[in-house]
Amino acid sequence: MRYAGLLVLAIVLLALEGSLCRVLHLESLRPDLSLVLVVFTSFHLGAGGLVLVLGLGLIADGFAGTPPGLFTSVYIVVWSAVRGSMRFVIPGIRSVQMITIFLASVFSYLLVALMYFALDLGQGPIAILLTWMLPLALANVLLALPVWALARRVLGPLASGPGH
């Protein structure tokens, strides 16, 4: 039930972001809040978090209007990579978490660019991603604190993984 709550939170956040972007006109500076939640899931939930990641990917695909499954597959790779890297870092430290979000964001945008290239979906998006990758990753890091705080509230005692 709380897992469903996190998906509802993702929908609310993405809807809010979409409405704000309509007003703010920030070109391609559109932070990936669902990726922020994916990294949260990697830190705080066990292997069962994969189900959530699938849900988050489908929601992100729906909101983004990108080819179906693009974000879902990227998120699964990112989730696996972050979980794999947790053996080498102390996940409970805030700075480690923030750096992880930054690196995961860059990794995710590179993966998306690679998929656009592989699927021959045009050079335009690749150029945009390469141009905006760092500002987007920074924006994700900045928004991670409030988003994670909300996610902790939603998940409650379930958010007690190694990153807690």
């Binding site: 409405s19 909101f63 045009g122």
Partner: protein, 263 residues
């Protein structure tokens, strides 16, 4: 009034004595008046000032609202003008309620859906030209793929020379590319591109953009061009959806002998 000769010593004495006194009184009165004016009266002025400030704020808000209403009125007027150019097509006006959250795709969400007769594939226009087409539709909302989305393709023709091409989005608000222009196509910078109607998705003749640059490679069948959309996608707030059911077929030329006519 006494003449100068009539002024006696008493008069002069009084004047001598009262002059400084009056001068002192004037000083005192002026000082008191000044005190009143500069300090005591200012207390009222301050209150008045506060009142005026709040009135100014109210008026500024009202002015901003008026400007907003005027701007909206202007946009709607342009939209109505576009509505008239669409002729017999049935259209539904919609307000944009959100944009896609991906940095690379260009989608918007509008506040009309299947309850209003919208179907996937319906063309969407802004006040000055083509905006995109509906891709997914629910009861009260629809998602619109803009022509600047990287996966969008619109069959166009130049208004001047009728050269045909395909406009593809690049994920940028101000730039699209034009593919499949034959090498010999007569295309110049500044040419207006309009929908050709090929493919049946968009009605013909809708303004799409103006050619900004053209390049002809040394080899190859096609030449390339860049296009600036006529719609400012950073500013649109309202759109018109052209209902598929209301689309009209272009009047066909009479069938030549030996060709297939419309049944």
């Amino acid at each position: 009034m006494k003449d100068a000769e009539e002024q006696n010593a008493l008069d002069r004495g009084l004047l001598w004595a009262s002059g400084p006194l009056q001068n002192a009184f004037v000083w005192l009165i002026d000082g008191a008046a000044g005190l009143w004016k500069d300090y005591v009266w200012l207390l009222d002025v301050r209150e008045e000032n506060d009142g005026l400030k709040s009135q100014v704020e109210v008026l500024q808000r009202e002015l901003a609202n008026q400007k907003e209403v005027l701007a909206e009125n202007e946009r709607l007027r342009e939209l109505v003008s576009m509505r008239q150019t669409l002729g017999a097509h049935r259209v539904v006006a919609a307000r944009i309620i959100g944009v896609g959250t991906s940095p690379i795709s260009r989608f918007i969400q509008i506040d009309v859906g299947s309850d209003d007769g919208i179907k996937p594939g319906d063309a969407v226009v802004a006040s000055v030209g083509l905006a995109g087409r509906c891709t997914s539709v629910v009861a009260a909302y629809s998602e619109v793929q803009l022509i600047i989305d990287p996966r969008s393709a619109v069959a166009v023709t130049t208004q001047r020379s009728r050269a045909r091409g395909i406009v593809r989005g690049m994920g940028r608000d101000e730039l699209c590319k034009v593919d499949h222009l034959v090498r010999t196509a007569d295309v110049e910078e500044g040419d207006l591109l309009v929908t050709s109607g090929l493919g049946g998705v968009y009605p013909p003749g809708l303004p799409v953009g103006t050619v900004t640059t053209t390049t002809t490679p040394k080899v190859g069948v096609f030449r390339h061009a860049d296009m600036a959309p006529v719609v400012d996608f950073r500013k649109i707030e309202e759109v018109l959806v052209i209902l598929a059911a209301g689309k009209q077929r272009r009047p066909r030329a009479p069938s030549a002998p030996g060709t297939d006519g419309e049944p």
